[in-house]
């Protein structure tokens, strides 16, 4: 994976352009967003999560957001990391099946219950799960929760990840992947909209 600033690349930001100058007002945020990307997807030490697993999770998460340029980036990175076509297809099919509208979910019982928007807990299709394997199947189901209905999260969801063989430290990294990508796709979408008005 190259270390060219991925947000710049996804937005097609040319040096010296108006958007380049705007991003330059927050130099550290720009550099550290890229450092986050590197730490999640190309760290010196992959620890308990193989790069291909990291990128499969990422391709699924961005797929849930329906931002096609970002989705293509991660699908390409997944293929470059050696994913089989069967895995790549399973990731894309899972993302398509899991797409929904968020954020929904429920609050602790009380005055906020009037705002509850109960919704589905998504499960990987039985035909796709064998291709993903138990670790990625559990991870994808958790990613759907984090992206679309994070206020429904609870210890039971975390226990499902632990039961599938992820460690506590792995779960922290998986959660960071989902949460970071929720940020990255929004920066790209937001600055992309701003760019149309520059």
């Amino acid at each position: 994976m190259s270390d060219i600033d991925v947000i710049d690349r996804l937005l097609g930001i040319a040096p010296g352009s108006a958007l380049d100058r705007i991003r330059a007002t927050r130099t550290e945020a720009r550099a550290q967003a890229q450092a986050s990307y590197r730490a999640l997807f190309n760290p010196d030490d992959m620890a308990g999560i193989a790069q291909q697993e990291r990128l499969a999770v990422a391709a699924f998460v961005v797929g849930l957001h329906g931002q096609s340029a970002v989705t293509e980036h991660y699908a390409g990175a997944l293929a470059a990391a050696g994913a089989t076509p069967a895995l790549a297809d399973a990731v894309a099919a899972a993302a398509k099946a899991a797409t929904g509208q968020g954020p929904y979910g429920s609050y602790p019982a009380g005055p906020l219950s009037v705002e509850d928007q109960p919704g589905a807990t998504w499960r990987v299709d039985g035909r796709i799960a064998p291709i993903l394997g138990p670790r990625l199947t559990a991870a994808f189901e958790h990613m759907h929760l984090l992206i679309l209905h994070p206020r429904d999260a609870g210890p039971t969801a975390l226990q499902a990840l632990l039961d599938a063989g992820w460690t506590t430290t792995d779960v922290v990294t998986l959660s960071q992947i989902a949460a970071f990508l929720a940020f990255q796709v929004r920066v790209v979408a937001g600055l992309g909209a701003l760019a149309t008005r520059l």
Partner: protein
């Protein structure tokens, strides 16, 4: 050995959005303070964060935490140009309100009040949600944060136009975008790795 989740001690669950100082109880084991190495402290950025269960949990992946924290600090604390601090906090509070992160909303609503002195307006956002009328400039910022927080993302050129009409310059618009986007990062960690707790009654 398979890891297990934690059962938080008995506590008062907050059931409304509030500006009270809340606690946060982890569902997964934070690293013990005595196991923190130099690399962990580099990830914590501020050594005092070793006192926080949240940061000692996230520091299990220290490089990501360090980069996340430095991203956060530049988006919110960099005083150069862009959006006034109060309104960066407003965008953070609005994103947190929509995602349902009672803990994050409490922190950033307090900051929004500190910097804006508009206590009643911030409290209205907490009480009634992101549809409240806070005057056009704040409405435009809240609407932008909301459009950036929904999935699919609905933020578009019309939101940029509305922010500009409210006299935000390009750097300020970019701050709204980054502040709201960042809270879509923070909310998901806070909501899914533990839970808020109210101070004990009395």
């Amino acid at each position: 050995m398979t890891d297990t989740t934690l059962v938080p001690p008995p506590h008062v669950v907050p059931t409304v959005f509030t500006r009270d100082q809340l606690d946060w109880l982890p569902w997964l084991e934070p690293l013990p303070v005595e196991e923190l190495t130099d690399r962990h402290f580099a990830g914590l950025v501020d050594a005092s964060r070793a006192n926080s269960a949240y940061f000692r949990l996230l520091v299990r992946d220290p490089d990501v935490l360090g980069a996340r924290t430095r991203t956060d600090k530049d988006i919110f604390y960099n005083p150069e140009a862009g959006l006034p601090r109060a309104e960066r906090e407003l965008a953070a509070a609005a994103a947190s309100r929509l995602n349902g992160c009672i803990y994050c909303a409490s922190v950033h609503a307090r900051f929004a009040v500190t910097f804006s002195k508009r206590e009643a307006d911030v409290q209205k956002l907490l009480d009634d949600g992101v549809g409240v009328d806070l005057g056009e400039r704040w409405n435009a910022i809240v609407a932008a944060a909301v459009a950036l927080t929904t999935t699919p993302i609905t933020f578009g050129p019309a939101h940029v136009d509305r922010l500009r009409a409210a006299r935000l310059d390009d750097a300020a618009v970019a701050d709204v975008i980054q502040a709201a986007a960042f809270f879509n990062w923070a909310n998901r960690l806070m909501l899914s790795l533990g839970e808020p707790a109210s101070p004990p009654a009395g």
